[in-house]
């Protein structure tokens, strides 16, 4: 390609990208800033005709290079969007794309967790605001791979059944805008390792002693084994203790825990 052709193409691509700066100083664009080959397909598959924009108020934090493809830390925060109804997290190039989906309800619109990656891929959060628009943000994570097709450690050592569904949890600063962290013992098998069927937690929800729902979470195969989550509470919306965590896996095993401190 010669210089002239290149500069013409550059002009065209700039023209195609409509870029506007929102009231809160947010930068919103229509074209995928991560230049993922299959974004258009995924967009149709998950969002149909709904409007999807790329919005820098959607924050995704992850390492640039995954050190352990079975446990890649990801933090999502979409509070800058205001009221958010639900948030989806996907890894474009994973064999199983959808990682999880959550509705923040009375909790803050932020969540930390870990994911299995099969190769280098964009990791994105896409959040739906009340007007029905989906706001996407994310980053590329480089990964040596194999995270989705390797057996879980629990399968390899054979002891996963001894601890299945056990919960360890702790609340920090419950009186203020505190945080709940918990770990659920579960192999989270993807079904892609030979001879091991998919076996994963599908639902987790969090409510307080007064019956207020704080978070609904749907999880899928790519969430890491023995998953650890961090939820944050809103200022002025401290939960009444104890918290109740309940959930279920795809085999119907129930997860239930009360968290008092």
């Amino acid at each position: 390609m010669d210089k002239q052709t290149r500069s013409v193409l550059l002009v065209i691509s700039v023209a195609l990208t409509t870029l506007w700066v929102g009231a809160a100083g947010a930068v919103v664009v229509d074209d995928d800033p991560l230049k993922s080959a299959n974004w258009d397909d995924l967009k149709t598959r998950f969002f149909g005709d709904a409007k999807v924009v790329f919005d820098d108020r959607v924050k995704v934090v992850a390492p640039i290079r995954a050190e352990d493809s079975m446990n890649v830390p990801v933090g999502v925060n979409v509070e800058a969007l205001g009221e958010v109804e639900e948030v989806m997290v996907i890894a474009d190039l994973n064999p199983i794309v959808k990682v999880l989906q959550f509705r923040p309800l009375a909790a803050r619109a932020s969540l930390s967790f870990r994911v299995k990656l099969q190769q280098a891929t964009p990791v994105r959060a896409i959040a739906r605001t009340r007007d029905g628009i989906w706001h996407a943000g994310g980053m590329w994570v480089d990964a040596a791979g194999g995270g989705c097709t390797a057996p879980s450690v629990g399968r390899s050592t054979g002891n996963w059944a001894d601890t299945l569904g056990q919960v360890q949890a702790r609340i920090w600063n419950p009186a203020e805008a505190g945080r709940l962290r918990f770990r659920v013992m579960h192999p989270m098998d993807t079904g892609l390792a030979p001879g091991i069927p998919a076996f994963y937690i599908e639902k987790l929800s969090l409510s307080d002693a007064a019956g207020v729902k704080f978070m609904d979470l749907e999880t899928f195969e790519p969430v890491s084994e023995n998953p650890v989550f961090s939820f944050d509470f809103r200022p002025g919306r401290a939960p009444r203790l104890p918290l109740l965590l309940s959930g279920m896996d795809n085999n119907g095993n129930r997860i239930q825990a009360q968290v008092a401190q």
Partner: protein, 314 residues
């Protein structure tokens, strides 16, 4: 694109393809004399890449009257072979012994270049080479590309025994320590005063922790500091004549340990740590951001589980 331009491109591409690839894959290993009879191939303060081919590690050799002692063999078959040629350019004495400091791939993947010779490592390291070598190789082929051609993890063939022996007029002591990995071999030449510290010491290159026990590592650094030596060859970073490498490694590890412990006690998650500002003292050390991110993955789950176990669930 007009015809002439297309032709020019075609000529350029063909010329590029026919250029001998071998010529590009030269580590340019230049031995640096750090003491009488003692040489180091000083690696770059970088991570593995297609640009450097894994020339990121310090390897070395001691020329004794009874032959050459080699310490570590580098990151690929090619590195090992080129290192052997570079040694032969310095001395015509035969190599009598190869020593490997620990089981990380940048230290032993050149073993194929020395496969006709006795290659010794601590038994804990030999186990690690056998168990993890293939996984290391997959990752290095991905990161360093063509430089890795025909590299296969070849484990050490002899068990190194700690102790002191005289080899060709050099009083050489092998010391078994741990902390960077489960078995870290240190080579101290009492005759020249050179200490080959392996990856227990990093200098101006952030320490790596995939198999680290920080408590053991700090104990080993105290042992190294107490030994008598004149020149220290860190696993990564310039050789030097004082304790600055030991001290920098110790301060960084102590900070890392304290930071992760405090974060776990405060209920932080890994993404919070990834966004943390690093202290001024470490912010300018090459690769510290990357290594800190890796260390979070290696070490944080342990701290986190202890913190979660202290909570109330039922």
């Amino acid at each position: 694109m007009n015809g002439l331009r297309a032709l020019r491109w075609a000529v350029f591409l063909v010329a590029g393809l026919s250029f001998p690839i071998e010529a590009a894959l030269d580590y340019m290993l230049k031995p640096r004399k750090v003491a009488p009879d003692t040489y180091v191939f000083v690696g770059l303060a970088e991570d593995f890449s297609r640009g450097n081919g894994g020339n990121i590690v310090n390897t070395g050799f001691i020329v004794t009257a009874d032959g050459v002692v080699v310490i570590d063999t580098g990151s690929s078959r090619l590195y090992g072979e080129q290192m052997r040629r570079a040694i032969a350019a310095v001395t015509d004495k035969p190599i009598r012994q190869v020593l490997i400091t620990h089981h990380h791939p940048d230290h032993f993947f050149g073993n194929q270049g020395f496969r006709d010779l006795p290659i010794a490592a601590l038994s804990g390291s030999i186990g690690g080479m056998k168990e993890e070598g293939v996984g290391f190789a997959d990752n290095l082929y991905r990161m360093a590309g063509d430089w890795m051609r025909e590299t296969e993890p070849l484990a050490a063939t002899q068990e190194a025994r700690p102790g002191r022996s005289t080899i060709g007029g050099h009083d050489i002591e092998l010391i078994e320590l741990k902390g960077h990995t489960q078995a870290d071999l240190v080579v101290l030449d009492h005759t020249s005063g050179v200490l080959f510290a392996g990856d227990l010491v990093f200098w101006q290159r952030a320490a790596t922790t995939p198999h680290a026990s920080i408590a053991d590592w700090l104990g080993s650094l105290d042992r190294l500091q107490a030994l008598k030596w004149k020149t220290i060859v860190p696993g990564h970073g310039e050789p030097h004549a004082d304790t600055r490498g030991i001290e920098q490694t110790r301060r960084y590890l102590a900070w890392l340990d304290a930071t992760l412990r405090k974060a776990a006690a405060e209920g932080r998650d890994m993404p919070d740590l990834l966004q943390m500002k690093l202290p001024q003292e470490f912010a300018d050390i090459p690769l510290v951001r990357e290594e800190f991110a890796r260390s979070i993955t290696h070490l944080y789950p342990g701290f986190e589980q202890r913190a979660l176990a202290g909570g109330g669930k039922s």
